[in-house]
Amino acid sequence: MQLEAMPPVVRLTHVSRTYQAGALEVRALDDLTLEIPPGRFSVVIGASGSGKTTLLNLIGCIDAPSAGAVEVCQQKVAELDDDAVADFRARNIGFIFQTFSLIPVLSAYENVEYPLLLVGMPGPERRRRTLAMLEAVGLAAQAQRRPNELSGGQKQRVAIARALVKQPQLVLADEPTANLDSATGASIISLMRRVQADSHTTFIFATHDPQLMSHADEIFAIRDGALLEHRGSAS
């Protein structure tokens, strides 16, 4: 299929990331090399402290490697300055967080609309896209509610809508179901699976959730900052 011929959306080459914790040097990622093909529903698994969040941060261009090269959407991230990286994220990367992280003073509608403001989309188009996105996550009726008036599942739906509304090439989700009960988690997973299938957006998850793993096209298992296993449909 065509997607298989396209270049990888993420390419990490000999990437290391070390942190200074007092006098101690913590190696979160150690000489990691991997490629993630586009249009997949990929999952990064690993125990707490295995380095999977660090990996997601590097892929999401909100952290920089101590060594090695990160290339996202064919862009060498190291070549961009701070503002350019911010603009790059605004255009290409959507985030979904474990704690939902909606802006509390903005309504569901305004939270979803915010990323479109960042890319400077004109008003009418912005409104159409925002409403369509809320419709797609089943929250059209709750559009004017503030986050504190929404349930956990509804909040995460808003977060998904917010991540996807700008039609990014890449969506990163760090433990998106961890704060949800399993039924809600399941509905969130199926929602994400559906929108991923519709949009062919590349989804990358970090999770412990076995439910998520069962949906994955591809699984990267991480331990102690190194790739332990790569399972998935062969490319």
Partner: protein
């Protein structure tokens, strides 16, 4: 984009309404204090300016050197041919439309004496010779609608050169309390003979000679007529009689004890005697104080053109006290502004720091979504500005309301340099540019105070911020 930043800032202010209220209150208190003080100083400045312009005019033309050297001997600095000079000033096309009153005046010094009755008394006086109708017109100047108008009481007449007014202190010293029916004016105690001088027996021979041509013990006691003695420009002793028609309190005691206001003709008679009658100064009262520098420049040009050895001084130069009061109040204002500015600064820094600390995760989320650092900074600066704006608006509204209350309450007071009580008036909007400056300054301080926390927010690492719950 800026719209959503303002929206977020505003909603956060509303969300933390108690904290925002406290901070805005500090700003409001600052605005209130400064605006009320501004209103007070404006009232004082305009009141003092009005008083000075009413009595001295805006500008005075002297013979060169008078201002620096003439005070000790005003009569030696008379303006030659002053009528001609006044005519050319009055006819000048530039000056003519600016001038409200153009009038001559003579300053003089001498001895005022009341030799009538038993208690003969005399004292050095400082006098002013004026044209009564011109003076009255000057006293009606009120560009700033202060309502200040203290007419000459009782009025002096252009037609009667012998009439004049004196300071209440001088009236007291000259034993005129009773003739002028002055309130709170006790008669002087009988003077004790100077030590070492014992009044001898009356020498009948001398007493007879003294009483032969002039009635002894003065003319009928009870009349408020005094003698003014001065040396003429030529050095000759000269005396005139002044019918004191009333006493008016003067602000400073030393002036109150020495002041004589008389008709210009009488002053000239006393100072110049048989010589050419001159004047000390040509007084210009302008329709509007804003003409002052233009009028001054034009006068100087006129005098240069005509080779007249004259100098122009404005009322602020003539009354150093005016400048001193302005400097005093300005420094008090600066002090208040400094204290209030500090309070606002600390209040806003504190509040904004708390706001930043509470929203670290939100900051991380925004940054991850692609919001630039500069917009995070703008976000919090806008919040500080909004708090400043709200506080300033509330403070300004309160200041205007309080001023209106005070102005309606009819409280009176005696301003510095004044002799009589006048209604207290807070003129908050009397100098609108300054009021605006105070408000803008406070908003600026609030914004500047937000800069530190805002920079801190902008500098946060995205990863650390996201990890912060």
């Amino acid at each position: 984009m800026i719209g959503v930043l303002v929206k977020i800032a505003w909603r956060n202010i509303v969300r933390n309404r108690r904290r925002s209220l406290m901070t805005a209150s500090a700003v409001a208190a600052g605005a209130l204090a400064m605006l009320l003080f501004l209103g007070y100083t404006t009232y004082i400045f305009l009141g003092m300016e009005t008083g000075n312009v009413q009595h001295l005019g805006h500008l005075r033309v002297f013979r060169a050197g008078y201002f620096l050297y003439g005070a000790g001997n005003p009569s030696a600095y008379g303006i030659d041919g002053y009528r001609e000079v006044m005519r050319s000033i009055g006819a000048d096309p530039v000056l003519e439309p600016m001038i409200r009153v153009l009038t001559p005046t003579q300053s003089l010094m001498g001895i005022a004496a009341n030799y009538r009755g038993d208690n003969a008394a005399s004292r050095t006086f400082f006098g002013e010779g004026i044209i009564p109708s011109d003076r009255d017109r000057m006293l009606r100047w009120d560009q700033y609608h202060t309502g200040i108008y203290h007419p000459l009481d009782p009025p002096m007449a252009d037609a009667d050169e012998s009439r004049g007014l004196i300071g209440t202190g001088l009236a007291r010293i000259l034993n005129l309390c009773a003739p002028l029916a002055l309130p709170e004016c006790p008669p002087a105690p009988a003077a004790a003979p100077p030590p070492g001088e014992h009044p001898g027996k009356v020498n009948a021979d001398i007493a007879e000679l003294a009483g032969r041509d002039v009635p002894q013990g003065g003319r009928a006691p009870g009349g408020a007529q005094i003698d003014l003695l001065a040396a003429t420009v030529g050095g000759a002793p000269n005396v005139v009689s002044l019918n004191v028609i009333g006493a008016q309190p003067q602000g400073a005691k030393e002036l109150d004890d020495a002041y004589v206001l008389m008709h210009l003709a009488l002053a000239q008679q006393l100072v110049y005697g048989r010589e050419e009658h001159k004047i000390t100064a040509i007084v210009l009262q302008l329709k509007d104080s804003r003409y002052l520098s233009a009028a001054r420049a034009r006068l100087n040009a006129l005098f240069r053109e005509r080779h007249l050895d004259l100098e122009v001084r404005d009322f602020a130069e003539l009354v150093p006290f005016y400048g001193q009061v302005i400097r005093l109040f300005s420094s008090i204002f600066l002090f208040i502004a400094l204290v209030m500015g500090m309070i606002v600064l600390f209040a806003v820094v504190n509040t904004m720091t708390m706001n930043v600390m509470e929203r670290i995760n939100e900051i991380g989320t925004s940054r991850a979504m692609g919001v630039r650092r500069s917009r995070i900074r703008a976000q919090f600066l806008i919040e500080g500005t909004l708090i400043g704006l709200i506080g300033t608006a509330v403070g300004a509204a309160l200041a205007i309301a309080i001023a209106a209350l005070v102005n309606r309450s009819g409280i009176t007071w005696i301003p510095p340099g004044n002799a009589t009580a006048i209604p207290l008036h807070l003129d908050v909007l009397g100098r609108p540019l300054r009021a605006l400056g105070i408000c803008a300054g406070l908003v600026l301080v609030a914004t500047a105070a937000a800069l530190l926390p805002a920079n801190r927010a902008a500098r946060l690492s995205v990863v650390d911020a996201l990890r912060h719950i």
